[in-house]
């Protein structure tokens, strides 16, 4: 079985943005909302909600590609595969904020902010790190925990696709699922 990953079902998203606020909270120093919002260098969300036609919300986050265009573009090798298996994680200590990774990313999931882990730099690349620290202690990623409508889940991608296959089967035989 593949490792679990965050599956996004954009059609279920209601645009409440809880994932964003909890992602930022999970990446703050104090990890509690009330104090996170008072930290000197604010944490930022790594998942973003885009707005589509008819204002349909669209959750967008790093897909941890393999090979990852961002990693290939990174000259100081700041995007690392060796921190957590299957995840591409930005090491703020190595990042020089050159912007090459955002150039390369086809999904627009990398942004640049001041980061509390590298406070002397005006901006480093910030993107989803798979909440590897949470997952390592048995929690689900913060965005998944926050999502009340099931638009973000933490599951085996093959099981998710199996579900899609069944939907296709229903559609093919004219049954609305």
């Amino acid at each position: 079985m593949l490792k679990k990953t965050v599956i996004v079902r954009p059609e279920l998203c209601v645009g409440c943005m809880q994932c964003m606020i909890r992602c930022a909270e999970a990446h703050s120093r104090t990890k509690t909302l009330a104090s996170a919002i008072r930290e000197e260098i604010l944490a930022k969300p790594r998942i973003h909600i885009g707005v589509g036609p008819e204002l349909k919300p669209f959750p967008n986050k790093c897909r941890h590609c393999e090979p990852a265009p961002c990693q290939e573009a990174c000259m100081p090798w700041a995007i690392r595969s060796d921190i957590a298996e299957g995840l591409k994680i930005v090491d703020p200590a190595r990042c020089i904020g050159c912007g090459m990774c955002a150039m390369a990313c086809p999904y627009y999931v990398i942004r640049y902010y001041r980061d509390a882990n590298a406070p002397e730099r005006p901006g480093v690349a910030v993107k989803c790190d798979g909440c590897h620290e949470r997952v390592a202690v048995g929690l689900v990623p913060a965005c998944v925990e926050a999502c009340k409508v099931g638009a973000l889940t933490f599951e085996d991608v093959n099981l998710y696709l199996k579900e899609g296959t069944n939907r296709l089967a229903n559609a093919a035989y004219g049954v609305r699922s």
Binding site: E11, G50, A73, M75, I96, M100
Partner: protein, 421 residues
């Protein structure tokens, strides 16, 4: 199976990693006269500007090679015999290969200037160049920088940060003429000219470098006059290192010609990085695009093909994103006027203070250049790569490109899948 990789910088490293992923047991030999310390060359700009300690340019230790099981041969490659499948090293030793990757990159183009001190001209490609420049840097002194491209620009800003005054001597009418369009080029030129400590000379070349009187060097200008300087540095582009391959029989032009699988004219030899002249996304022709992400990607694609995993190469594309006087400048694809003849140039009215120009050939987006434009380079690059059609862009967006969304959507097909059932 023995894979030999010549050149162990961006493309070569990437290739070794992917060769090992594809083939756990094969022998991989890396040929490079100086593979250690394992650093990334483009970081020398940051080291020059004092934004990074030179040691921080090193990105890995020797264990990078040992972990991959790559045998290092710390020599220069001298001669290639594709028919016999043998690579001759500078020492005379011969290295047989089953598959060969040529990734020995490019060298700085030399400056056509005479004078007894023309050997003092520093280039800016690798560590030794950085060391040479730093040895000549003196705060309060004067530097001459030759070349109005990105390297010349970075040299100028770096030397300024080091406390020198800089005269930037550009052969073209404006800086960055090969990288951006007239508007952005002129803007950069204007800002450069107004930067304290910088003197910008355009449409000017250096004819000779002699010993100076008040300063160590004197550069003579083609328009007449000369400058007394402490340091001369040049960034006049790079030339692929094809010299040693001229007798090999491989098809070459500016670089080594490669097909859609990064194969050379010899099916056992692939090429990647600044040496490769590979199909270009925008021109359809084969081009050398000597930039880091291209090299790393080509290293991977070539390696996979060498290992028997058929991997078509998407194509090279020019792209740049650099902070320029507090603004973010981006360019992708074909933007320099020489390449955009016959193209439709559409300037978008962005938010105040921003600039975005899109280049369409026919209906296809082939280039873009922007200054503090809302879309990031990644979005524009992706749009160019997949050939975004002009008709897919809403009219209102061209009048007010406040976000990159219209560039992003690949069309209704994605949404349809999501709503299936």
């Amino acid at each position: 199976m023995r894979y030999v990789v010549v050149g162990l910088h961006a493309a070569g490293r990437s290739a070794c990693a992917w060769l090992r992923k594809a083939d756990k047991t094969a022998e991989i030999v890396g040929v490079d006269p100086a593979p250690m310390p394992l650093y990334s060359r483009p970081l020398i700009s940051y080291a020059l500007a004092g934004e990074m300690a030179p040691e921080a340019m090193t990105v890995a230790g020797e264990d990078f090679w040992t972990n991959l099981g790559v045998r290092l041969v710390k020599e220069k490659a001298a001669f290639l015999d594709p028919e016999r499948g043998k690579l001759t090293l500078a020492s005379g030793e011969e290295l047989a290969y089953d598959r060969l990757l040529l990734a020995c990159g490019a060298r700085p183009r030399s400056v056509e200037a005479g004078g007894s001190m023309s050997g003092e001209i520093c280039f800016f490609r690798a560590r030794h160049d950085l060391d040479r420049i730093l040895a000549r840097v003196n705060p309060g002194g004067i530097a001459a920088v030759l070349g109005g491209g990105l390297v010349g620009f970075k040299l100028t800003m770096g030397l300024l940060k080091r406390g020198m005054t800089v005269t930037l001597i550009v052969a073209s009418p404006r800086p960055l003429s090969l990288n951006v369009d007239e508007h952005v080029g002129s803007w950069v030129g204007g800002r450069l000219a107004n930067t304290p400590g910088v003197t910008l000379l355009t449409s000017t070349s250096v004819t000779s470098v002699e010993k100076g009187t008040s300063h160590p060097l004197r550069v003579a200008l083609d328009k007449g006059g000369s400058l007394e300087v402490d340091l001369v540095a040049a960034g006049k582009g790079v030339v692929p290192e094809t010299g040693w391959l001229s007798g090999s029989g491989l098809e070459l032009d500016y670089g080594i010609l490669a097909d859609h699988f990064l194969r050379t004219s010899d099916e056992r030899i692939h090429v990647a990085g600044d040496l490769a002249q590979a199909p270009d996304v925008v021109s359809g022709d084969r081009q050398v695009n000597a930039i880091w992400p291209m090299a790393v990607e080509q290293g991977r694609v070539a390696a996979l093909n060498m290992a028997g995993v058929r991997t078509p190469y998407g194509g090279t594309m020019a792209m740049n994103s650099i902070p320029v006087f507090g603004s973010q400048m981006i360019s992708v694809g074909a933007v320099n006027p020489a390449l955009t003849k016959g193209c439709d140039l559409v300037t978008a009215d962005g938010p105040r203070g921003s600039y975005l120009k899109l280049v369409f050939r026919g209906d296809r987006l082939v280039g873009a250049v922007g200054l503090d434009a809302p879309p990031r380079l990644g979005e524009l690059a992706f749009a160019v790569r997949r050939g975004l059609r002009r008709r897919d862009l809403p009219d209102w967006w061209l009048h007010n490109p406040k976000s990159a969304a219209p560039l992003a959507a690949p069309g209704p097909s994605l949404a349809r899948n999501a709503f299936l059932g």
